[in-house]
């Protein structure tokens, strides 16, 4: 897939709550094809401490409005600066980067489960929208620390049934995603997951025990994002592979995780 480097205009920058923002970007040209699971490298201008670009997943593409959405958790100077962007300002992106989630080969395997935790829900919205448009039947299982950390629920509901867990039990079932009762009630043909590392490990272990194919989206530290520096590697059954080009989506069969 051809990659691009260009400036985008901020159309909206919504502070979902103190720790998250939803950045909607647009440009004059039609947004080229981007696949679910791919990411962009965002240049952060005006921050002394932010030298490298920041990798952020494609959260959603609104084709009608020609908008790219980025869902961002504020963890450090880079992301805090992105949260300050004003409507009309520009931001430079490299895109689209990385591989993508794979779509099950046969439509008979249409019951797919998308498990996200925290800001890891970001790529699952675009994935869900694409799966639905191709005739699959995605179910979302989203985990968060508390009710306010559940992000964009109404958006997910447009594409499938949504189940949630919170650690305090104030929304949905109490506990972690892997404790949710839906996993015992229904059989799924494929699991996709993105979130904090311990959560992805637990999901991968569950999928492996249940014999369900599973893909995870990794968030290794990156410098270039385009396969040039070899900084972002994951140790796999095929040796060290670059998460920015041969990932971020990796089948659990390939990983050397202790699960």
């Amino acid at each position: 897939m051809k990659k691009y480097a260009s400036d985008w205009k901020v159309v909206e920058n919504i502070r979902l709550h103190s720790n998250y923002c939803l950045l909607k970007l647009s440009m004059d040209a039609v947004i080229p094809e981007m696949l679910p699971g791919q990411f962009v490298q965002v240049r952060v201008d005006g921050s002394q401490t932010t030298f490298l670009r920041r990798p952020i997943s494609v959260n959603y593409i609104d084709r009608n409005k020609n908008e790219l959405w980025l869902l961002i958790q504020l963890v450090g100077d880079g992301t805090r600066n992105l949260a300050k962007l004003q409507i009309g300002e520009t931001v430079n992106l490299l895109y689209p980067l990385g591989n993508s989630f794979s779509i099950p080969k046969t439509i008979n395997d249409d019951n797919v489960l998308l498990i996200g935790g925290g800001v890891g829900v970001a790529p699952l919205l675009y994935l869900g929208s694409q799966l639905t448009s191709q005739g699959y039947n995605p179910t979302f299982l989203l985990g968060a620390r508390s009710r306010k950390d559940l992000l964009l629920l109404e958006e997910f509901q447009k594409y499938g049934e949504v189940f949630v867990t919170t650690e305090d039990g104030k929304s949905g079932e109490k506990g972690y995603v892997t404790n949710h009762s839906i996993l015992k009630k229904k059989h799924y043909d494929f699991i996709y997951t993105c979130g904090p590392s311990p959560m992805m490990h637990a999901v991968a272990a569950y999928a492996k025990q249940s014999g369900i194919p599973c893909e995870v989206s990794l968030e290794n530290l990156m410098a270039c994002g385009i396969g040039a520096c070899l900084c972002c590697v994951e140790n796999t059954t095929e040796g060290h592979i670059c998460v920015c080009t041969e990932g971020p989506v990796i089948n659990i069969e390939k990983l050397k995780w202790q699960i």
Partner: protein
């Protein structure tokens, strides 16, 4: 339009701007962002006699205006390079240069001999300075005796342009530069990364799996500039300068300090088309100051 051509040994460059080893892959990764034929050359990622897996993750840490890396020369080895990568990169319309690394003199010889046979590789850059590999790199470039041994051995088997890349982790870089010049190097390139360290205070652990790593980016520029200046004054062979170059002004400063050509490294990650922009900027600078060629300003600091 000034004349941007320069030469390094028998190597002629259409302009003095090249990209640094380990930061530009094999050039292929950048084809969507720029036209490789617009720059003087590409230094491809470090190649060793045999396959290397490199160091464990985490291999990088961001630092103020720079980064530390500890990639550890991950590459598939020279034979793989020849069978799988060379057929593609030989087509590119620029100087494609192999950065040769190793942990023993035999490895350097083995790798250089094989690259010598490749018609479309006009030069090698001998990395005697990579700080990442436990037994290798570091030792050769940080003392005159071992630097001299490895350059002499490679000079025996390598017939084309031999560039030796120097380590900045020494007390006097000019001493090493003079040593490798005496052994027949056609040029020196500098600087490689400076050994540094990052600590995660919350976890009370080093950030890198290897504890220490190589620092690069704009933060190293003043040191690099000083070393290029000193080296240019103490050798007769051309100096290729690098270290933190991120715009045309930086590039001009390195040329004024005595670089015949320059390399851009880490900044390719921020702007993958930076090298082409620097070429255009050098042209504009020369025109604005009334110079006819870039050669007129090499080492051209006013007294």
């Amino acid at each position: 339009m000034a004349n941007l051509k320069v030469s390094i040994g028998n190597l002629s460059l259409k302009n003095p701007v090249m990209t640094a080893s380990g930061t530009f892959g094999y050039g292929t990764e950048f084809l969507d962002f720029m036209d490789l034929s617009c720059i003087g050359g590409v230094f491809m990622k470090g190649t060793t006699a045999t396959h290397r897996e490199g160091n464990f993750y985490p291999r990088m840490a961001e630092t103020p205006s720079g980064m530390l890396n500890a990639v550890g020369l991950q590459n598939k080895g020279v034979d793989y390079f020849i069978s799988h990568i060379y057929p593609e990169v030989r087509k590119y319309d620029t100087n494609m240069i192999v950065n040769v690394s190793g942990s023993t003199i035999e490895e350097y010889i083995n790798c250089s001999e094989k690259i010598n046979e490749l018609e479309d590789i006009p030069a090698i850059e001998l990395n005697i300075s990579c700080p990442n590999v436990k037994q290798g790199g570091m030792a050769f470039g940080t003392n005159c005796q071992s630097a001299s041994q490895v350059v002499k051995a490679v000079r025996n088997v390598y017939r084309k342009t031999l560039i030796v890349k120097l380590s900045p982790n020494v007390t006097d870089i000019t001493e090493i530069a003079r040593t490798v010049e005496a052994e027949g190097a056609d040029a020196v390139s500098l600087i490689n990364t400076l050994v540094g360290m990052a600590i995660d205070a919350e976890k009370r652990r080093p950030v890198l799996s290897t504890v220490t790593g190589g620092l690069s980016g704009p933060c190293v520029k003043p040191i690099a500039l000083r070393m290029v200046y000193q080296t240019h004054k103490s050798v007769r062979i051309p100096v290729i300068g690098m270290g933190g170059i991120s715009n045309v002004t930086d590039a001009i400063e390195f040329i004024l300090a005595g670089s015949t050509a320059i390399q851009i490294g880490t900044y390719n990650f921020i702007d993958p088309a930076i090298s082409v922009k620097v070429v255009d900027g050098i042209n504009e600078y020369l025109d604005r100051h009334g110079f006819n060629s870039v050669e007129e300003i090499i080492g051209g600091l006013e007294k």
